[in-house]
């Protein structure tokens, strides 16, 4: 199973629907979560939702609505001021700092700005994630090759990030996030810096990753993508969860333009 590496996959080619496992215990739980930053900014106000394993969820909302804060709470870069965030049943507020690496290795994380190391090649960037967590792991090359194959960049091993397009750079970041075979894949505006075609390619890839069994949470501004995919939508406004729909759309009829 691999997807096309061509720069502009045909659209709208929506991947096969993956059925979220609603009968299983949820993999992500937000329970009356509030987050107020130290400067007093209330980014999240008392939101609750659960995500079953293998679900694909868009988090949408205007700038400042609290989308990135949800991601930061999930990777425990921030802790909730009130309420509980649970990942695989583990309350992140009670997670000890020395167990944080274990949580992060369960997760693949990508951002709008790729966060690639410019002085390393594509293959080295992907290998880095293994070298700093599990140095000496066998079959490093194969694992890197496999991840780059999934994202369609197996022929760019020795290229440097600056020689790649934005879409290709995001694919490298996704490959790096995949090397630990994460059960949860988090993407914060992964298409924010990309043109529509490249952005669509990235979304296809995330759907593919979901289809392979990972739970995907993608924070986005990309209305076209959300409307085409018809997946679950969590809509945020001013830190509140205003809508949680299966097969949702970016805007509900009559809703103000976000």
């Amino acid at each position: 199973m691999s997807i096309s590496a061509s720069p502009a996959p045909p659209r709208p080619q929506v991947a096969e629907t993956t059925r979220p496992a609603r009968h299983e215990p949820p993999i992500i739980v937000f329970q009356n979560v509030s987050k107020t930053y130290p400067n007093g900014a209330a980014a999240i106000r008392d939101i609750s939702f659960t995500i079953p394993p293998r679900d694909f969820v868009f988090v949408v909302g205007a700038s400042g609505a609290g989308k990135s804060t949800i991601i930061r709470l999930l990777i425990r870069e921030e802790t909730a001021t009130k309420g509980h965030v649970l990942v695989e049943g583990q309350d992140l507020a009670r997670l000890r700092r020395r167990h944080l690496p274990r949580l992060r290795r369960k997760m693949g994380i990508v951002f709008q700005d790729f966060k690639l190391l410019p002085n390393l090649t594509v293959a080295q960037n992907v290998a880095f994630a293994i070298q700093v967590t599990d140095p000496g792991r066998s079959h490093l090359k194969e694992k890197v090759g496999e991840a780059l194959y999934i994202v369609g960049l197996e022929d760019k091993l020795n290229t440097f990030p600056t020689e790649l397009s934005g879409g290709e750079q995001q694919r490298v970041a996704i490959a790096r996030a995949l090397v630990h075979r994460p059960r949860i894949f988090l993407a914060d505006e992964p298409t924010g810096n990309l043109d529509p075609d490249a952005g669509w390619g990235i979304v296809q890839l995330l759907l593919q990753i979901n289809h392979r069994g990972a739970t995907v949470v993608m924070a986005t501004h990309n209305r076209e993508v959300v409307d085409l995919c018809r997946r679950r939508v969590l809509a945020m406004e001013g830190g509140c969860l205003i809508r949680d729909e299966q097969e949702g759309q970016y805007l509900k009829e009559g809703e103000a333009n976000l």
Binding site: I75, E77, R97, R98, L100, P101, R102, L103, R104, R105, I109, K115, L117, F128, A129, Q131, V132, T133, D134, P135, G136, R137, R176, A177, H180
Partner: protein, 298 residues
């Protein structure tokens, strides 16, 4: 975690840090070397002074209390007993005039002179004495004060035989060298620590992107820390080697015979070098730990 590739990663990053930020690394190297030079020199000086003190002490802890010629053997023995029962006295032994003469002729080669004096009717000029071996050098003054009031003593300025002034003076110098060394090491050491911290903080800033990604993909705090600690340790140990080299060079230049300057032997020189290497490594890794702390805060 497999130790060999992990070690390779740590060493590579540490060396890269030093080479990439060589300006600040050189500054750390210089200040740590100065600190260790100060520490090493202070140890050498204190050692030399301590040896002088030990010599003085070993001489001074043998105290001769000279007896007046007129006293009876009984009262001499009486005094000997009194002194022997003093807690600070190890042994007390009576030496009569003949024994003193024999001692003088054998160790000082004065046999001829004494013989001439005796045969010309002058008699034996040497006084009998009680020879005390004290447990503690500090007791000398007290014992001396106690016996000097006795009328059994040999009249004249040299009632007892020890050099009052030298010991406190040497002790004074040792204290000064220890204090001066400690202050120098503390001040320069603090500067060195600050500069190592800045050096590692700079390296961490240059690598902030890498550190961010390491934390994101699940590297442990210690894995993030180790390259920087090693960087500090390498700088500390190189500084220690430089300082040892300089001290050894100075020692050989001003030394004589089998020993270095100030009478420092090779054994002590090796010990000082090892101490400096340990000190450099501790200084370096401690500075690094402080320097990397902020990067791991989030």
């Amino acid at each position: 975690m497999n130790p060999v590739p992990a070690l390779r990663f740590v060493v590579r990053v540490a060396l890269q840090n030093i080479v990439r930020n060589r300006g600040i690394a050189f500054a750390s190297l210089l200040t740590v070397t100065l600190t260790l030079l100060g520490a090493g020199a202070a140890v050498g000086v204190v050692f030399a002074l301590d040896k002088v003190l030990q010599q003085e002490e070993s001489q001074a802890s043998v105290l001769k209390v000279f007896m007046a010629d007129h006293i009876s053997f009984a009262s001499a023995l009486n005094l000997e007993h009194t002194l022997a029962s003093e807690p600070s006295v190890q042994t007390a032994s009576f030496e009569n005039k003949d024994q003193a003469a024999a001692q003088a002729s054998s160790t000082l080669g004065l046999g001829g002179a004494l013989h001439i004096l005796e045969s010309s009717g002058g008699g034996n000029p040497l006084p009998a004495s009680i020879n005390l071996h004290l447990k503690n050098i500090a007791a000398v003054t007290a014992i001396n004060n106690q016996v000097s009031t006795s009328d059994l003593l040999f009249p004249g300025p040299h009632q007892t035989d020890y050099n009052k002034d030298v010991i406190p003076r040497v002790e004074h110098y040792i204290l000064a060298a220890q204090l001066g060394g400690a202050i120098l090491v503390a001040v320069v050491g603090a500067v060195a620590l600050v500069i190592i911290t800045i050096s590692v903080r700079t390296a961490a800033f240059v690598r902030r992107q890498e550190i961010e990604i390491m934390k994101l993909v699940g590297a442990t705090d210690w894995f993030v820390r180790w390259p920087f600690i090693l960087e500090g340790m390498i700088l500390g140990v190189i500084s220690a080697l430089l300082a040892s080299g300089v001290l050894l060079g100075v020692g050989v230049t001003f030394g004589s015979g089998g020993s270095l300057a100030l009478g420092v032997g090779m054994r002590l020189a090796v010990l000082i070098s090892l101490g400096l290497i340990l000190g450099g490594a501790v200084l370096g890794s401690f500075g690094s730990l402080v320097g990397i702390r902020r990067s791991l805060a989030t």
